[in-house]
Symmetry: C2
Subunit: 332 residues, 2 copies
């Protein structure tokens, strides 16, 4: 089995061969020029920029891998900010000893997701880190996404009292799928990560002028997004537990392991805040797409409170505090 | 001493506090919105994009640190591609246990370099990695730069037979300064890294229509750039050893340690290819700037050969092969 060597990170011929072999063929496009220091691309007047580093253990999990994740994560951040994803960069940070074929598989997965979303990989970087432990060699991917701003008005400050909160599907599947894939718990299941592009979900909502704000609840989960909304609007967020879609397997795993689905990361869900008079229309638009079949209106903005409040399934009310320490094993 | 904890990487309140304390105050600008998934910025029709991950040991060295390096590296890549650097992203990948104050110092250094170059930090990301060894906790920075394309014609394919090669200053200082800072060799010296922005050097050359191509000789050094030029043009590169500026301390360290200055990384030098009739003018322009006082014409393009040829100081000729394995300790 061929493995990554330190010499492949020195900027010389070996690195060029590696990239020519396992990277460039998969991401070729008219803007990717492997011989310049920067890509030159056409842009419009208003451009959205986002960046993210991806660390996940294991690197492959049911429903995805680090390559798909690195593409979706950045494409989704552009999508929820009201932009059309156009370009993406790929920085590979790999530890010496990493299997070359496995790396190529992640690149393939990254490239496929970019292609499906019509996003062009325009530049990249590769660094090889010396191995410092006996653990499995590490791989970190960093991506920066660039896109055309379609809606410049989406913002926390656009949110009004009475606005509705929508989620495009069940929460926590990515986090639990990754945790189960670690096999640290002796649990296994058929759960698949929700890791996916939410571009089409965002696009259909962009057509509604009552749309105020969108976000994908990744690290910190739905709860963290609700607190960001509270912080940015000073308007209370009121959630209805029984409306929040959570699959039975996620509920079961959470019960067993003592986690709260509300803080679990999703990687293919969209949270939208929308004017009440367009919330039903928004829900129908989401439900019309395969990825949105389980979409739900899960709460609303309420200036009567200055908290994130959960109306429990049993008719009670619970104040949800922001995620503080780290209640769950790190998945990213 | 406060140290980075895993909980500060979970996307919750602790991470927000950390960023509010040691990152955002230093990089504030009108486009940095800490509450959205993507920054929205004005762009022009043609945009240059580049990305780079920065790994350096030690994190601080004479003349710079990883923060300055992460800013200069990306600003320089935009500059040499004929663009005006406008925006930069900052992804922090830090191992738990890393001293918080030290991290802040690198952010300060990054921010200062960006400010000096009028580049705005528009978005970022922070990930905390679990510690996997007893070594000093690691820090990796990734930056993506975005800028307005000022000259779309700079390219390897613009290079012609007879064109001259210029370097803006002595080579190899960054590599040797970093190596000496490691103190692995029992050597020490007054050598300072050349780590710096080359924006003003690039800008002054952009005004010459005879300018064909620019690059900063980082990983792989001047030799690797010459081979990229050879590969991209199929025209031979002819270098004159005695014209290539190398400081005595770099020469001395290379003699002692057995390295070739031609493969050593610079982080603040510019290599330009320019039409022969404008090469003197270009040299004068570089020399008129403090960073270019030691600039020199070091060679020319020659279709009489299909090699990178070094005319030695002793009147001989040597074919320079591309950097193959890794002849020098890794500095990045």
């Amino acid at each position: 089995m061929k493995r990554i060597s330190l010499a492949q990170g020195n900027g010389g011929r070996l690195m060029q061969s590696l990239l020519d072999e396992i990277v460039f063929p998969h991401i070729a496009n008219e803007y990717l020029n492997t011989l310049t220091d920067a890509a030159r691309v056409p842009t419009s007047k208003r451009t959205a920029i986002t960046t993210d580093s991806f660390i996940v253990t294991p690197l492959r999990f049911p429903g995805g891998d680090i390559g798909k994740l690195a593409a979706c994560g950045t494409i989704n951040d552009l999508s929820v900010s009201g932009a059309r994803p156009e370009y993406i960069t790929l920085s590979i940070i790999v530890e010496e000893g990493f299997p070359v074929e496995e790396l190529e598989n992640y690149i393939l997965s990254f490239a496929k997701t970019c292609r499906e979303n019509r996003v062009k990989v325009v530049c990249g970087d590769t660094k090889v880190m010396p191995s410092i432990s006996n653990e499995r060699p590490a791989l970190i991917l960093n991506t920066t996404g660039i896109g055309e701003v379609l809606r410049d008005d989406l913002s926390l400050t656009s949110i009004r009292d009475g606005d509705k909160l929508l989620i495009s599907g069940p929460i926590g599947e990515h986090a639990i799928a990754v945790l189960l894939a670690r096999e640290d718990f002796g649990l296994s299941g058929s759960l698949v990560s929700d890791c996916d592009s939410i571009g089409s979900l965002a696009k259909t909502l962009l057509q509604l002028d009552g749309l105020r704000f969108m976000r994908d609840p990744t690290r910190g989960g739905l709860l963290t997004v609700c607190h960001e909304i509270l912080l940015g609007t000073k308007i209370g967020v009121s959630l209805h537990e029984s409306y929040i879609p959570v699959r039975e397997t996620v509920k079961g795993a959470c019960d067993l392991l003592g986690y709260d689905p509300l803080v679990l990361a999703c990687e293919g869900r969209l949270l939208a805040v929308i004017a009440p008079e367009q919330s039903q229309q928004a829900l129908e638009r989401l439900k019309a797409l395969p990825q949105g079949s389980d979409a739900a209106i899960i709460g609303s903005m309420s200036k009567n409170s200055d908290q994130v409040l959960l109306h429990t399934a049993w008719g009670g009310e619970r104040i949800l505090m922001p995620l503080e320490g780290d209640p769950l094993p790190r998945i990213c």
